[in-house]
Symmetry: C2
Subunit: 169 residues, 2 copies
DNA sequence: GGAATCCCAACGAGTTTAGTCGGAATTCGT
DNA sequence: ACGAATTCCGACTAAACTCGTTGGGATTCC
């Protein structure tokens, strides 16, 4: 259960675009350098994000990529699902007929587990937008993150769990 | 974000052992046939589970595998972590020094996302024990499964009714 | 002794990952 | 018109991983 670099680099790149949202196209080279990712590799990832309608591109000099929507309207889940494929812990909870993936799907108790896991992952990833990420960075830098006791299932934004995440032993 | 067959087969096998808990050693062949998994492949998985102390084995005729603890004391998370490795969406939220995985780990906002995701996954998987699985199967078979038909956001059933959630490693 | 069973190590075909490489097409500024 | 910047596209690859298979050895029960 580890994300590949595709998902991680993709989120980094989209975060970078979010930081420069409204400033016109951002050339891939700049993003690649800031986020320390191979430019050519990132190019492939951006192609996927463009086909999925999450970014728009403009070619030629002064060209680059831009978010297709406001950072508040793009979630981490949107990005990860494009680059890593749908979040399906098992085939039997993917799109389509479960019975085709496993003939016992109807009576399978484990399927309920994978379903629950899938829903949980999607809920977490969809609860965080690029805007949340940018806001959180501001909070981190200004060193004023509040304390949240809501636990890991808290879906009320990143800022509230920041205190927990920074307290690393 | 898909589990490999290791995790899925492993859970199936452990579930099978849970169904026969207290009846003495269960030969691998029987489990493999019931769960429709290659016997030799399952053997490798059981070796890992044995080394992790989740099952005990007895050799020779009438030998086989048994759960090392009560089904209520073994969670899906225990099994999945043994067979799939630790649940770390990214290196920077794995065991050890995060800065060694990524020099920007301290200031990285995305790291908070992966941390949150990791905690969520572990929480779900650790909230479901083998006993929960067996109980749920009884509910499914008796066709009175009201608890799990409440839609994708249902938080009841599978672990939260019995309240067998245990340690957090 | 023989059958059942676990234990171990190696092999391998296929797929995925994480890129690299080379070049074509488009656009901007001058 | 030209050249630089940039996206776009397809092919290639080394390494790792997945999902097993193969072949034998050790142990235990009857």
């Amino acid at each position: 259960m580890r994300l590949s670099t595709r998902g991680k680099y993709g989120v980094r790149a989209m975060y970078d675009l979010a930081l420069h949202y409204g400033e016109g196209p951002v050339p891939l080279k700049a993003t690649a350098e800031r986020q320390m990712v191979s430019e050519h590799y990132l190019e492939q990832l951006m192609a996927g994000l463009r086909r999925a309608g999450l970014v728009t591109s403009s070619r030629g000099a002064q060209g680059g990529y831009e978010l297709a929507r406001s950072p508040a309207d793009i979630t981490i889940g949107d990005i990860v699902r494009v680059l890593e494929g749908p979040i399906d812990p098992a085939e039997c909870v993917a799109e389509g007929d479960p019975v085709e993936a496993c003939e016992r799907a109807d009576e399978c108790t484990m399927r309920l587990v994978w379903k629950k896991l899938k829903d949980c992952i999607n809920r977490v990833l969809d609860s965080i937008s690029l805007k949340d990420l940018c806001d959180e960075t501001a909070a981190l830098v200004s060193d004023s993150c509040g304390s949240c006791r809501a636990g890991p299932d808290c879906t009320r934004g990143l800022g509230e769990t920041a205190g927990t995440a920074r307290r690393t032993p």
